[in-house]
Symmetry: C2
Subunit: 224 residues, 2 copies
Amino acid sequence: MTFYSEHSKVWVSVDCIIFGFDESKLKVLIGRRQMDPGRGEWSLYGGFVAADESLDDAAARTLHELTGMENVFMRQVGAFGSVDRDPGERVISIAYYALINVKDYSETLRKEHGVEWVDASELPRLYSDHNQMVAKAWKLMKQKMRTEPIGFRLLPELFTLTQLQRLYEAVGGEEIDKRNFRKRIKEMDFIEKTNKIDKKSSKRGAALYCFNHNSYEKSPDFKL
Amino acid sequence: MTFYSEHSKVWVSVDCIIFGFDESKLKVLIGRRQMDPGRGEWSLYGGFVAADESLDDAAARTLHELTGMENVFMRQVGAFGSVDRDPGERVISIAYYALINVKDYSETLRKEHGVEWVDASELPRLYSDHNQMVAKAWKLMKQKMRTEPIGFRLLPELFTLTQLQRLYEAVGGEEIDKRNFRKRIKEMDFIEKTNKIDKKSSKRGAALYCFNHNSYEKSPDFKL
DNA sequence: TCAAAAGTGTTAGATTTACACCCATGA
DNA sequence: TCATGGGTGTAAATCTAACACTTTTGA
């Protein structure tokens, strides 16, 4: 009998804010709750933390459950613990955000789980405190995206500078000057121009770039 | 019988990183653990989250328990949840940092609880993951201090510009140019010069300033 | 031939940094 | 009288922001 037992235990869950990007819009993966309480309401995807797994592991497992994806970039958003945040029982939840490339997520799997990509800026009212979670996740992600090259996780391996710019505009919520943007990109040697051309988005065709991890590790100076 | 019961519950605690400032050093309040596991090790002050209180409330209550203080500025640092972070049982902990004025904390009370102010930059090895908690708390606090006028919570009501500068130097970890610092302060009308003079720190005496909350609310432009 | 997106430099203004001396006073 | 911390301005360098036209090509 230790001092622990004087205190009460609570359920702990993780909720995932899964961000994607679709040409010009930041997206979040949400679905209709399949269980009570709150059945039918829009909600983030989440799960309970098991006794033998860390919070980070629980978040990764939950994401994997939904998407089949591994080694996804995830960061903790914070703990949400109002007493009545879950209408059923006392559950505190640790929110995590994840960045994935929409195209890497099988449409079949997505439909099976009944989740949808919704514009981050036009989210419906979500279950419990999930809107707050998204807001905080977005804010943190935006901050981190200025100083670390994590945005590439939302893009295909090869991307055009316009795509990259649209991504930063979508996340930052404001337009960016094309020439100033490209000037800054050119200074970062780890964003490499390939000899491939994207012909889908324009008649003229746009050069495709890629992010070189090794090169970044050597001189990690990122600012956008 | 709901779906909750299939899952296991865990203990949830809060740990407080209580920051203070002592003329030129950022301080953290730590003490020797009074209970097993880890009895005798240096540790942050913490407590368990009760069934009927929010995480924020638990943090405020824990801080109050130790200091008798209320309405203290506190912010969540994040959730720490490695499986074996607590050697006794599975406990996840939510860290919070608090900013207090060292002089507002009764020395008597401090000694009663057996806690001490230790230089944040020279902390000993702490129990479990508490060093990580402090590191993250410091980082977050530093960030927030650049864009929000929270530093004043660590200073007396009236302070000299040198004290303020030392505070920013201690938190930021690097020296600041006196003239540039004062130039920026002068632009912020909510940092008001009083007609009082501090004679303790110099023969000549230094003007005492105060932070005017109302004035700040009217035009909140803070950057340091 | 024209619509649509790609690509490219320069300049003015704002911000940031570096820097050194006189002042007032108590010991 | 001198040691100590208080108080003050300017100039160079850097960074940021604004801005418009030419190119390519598929329809």
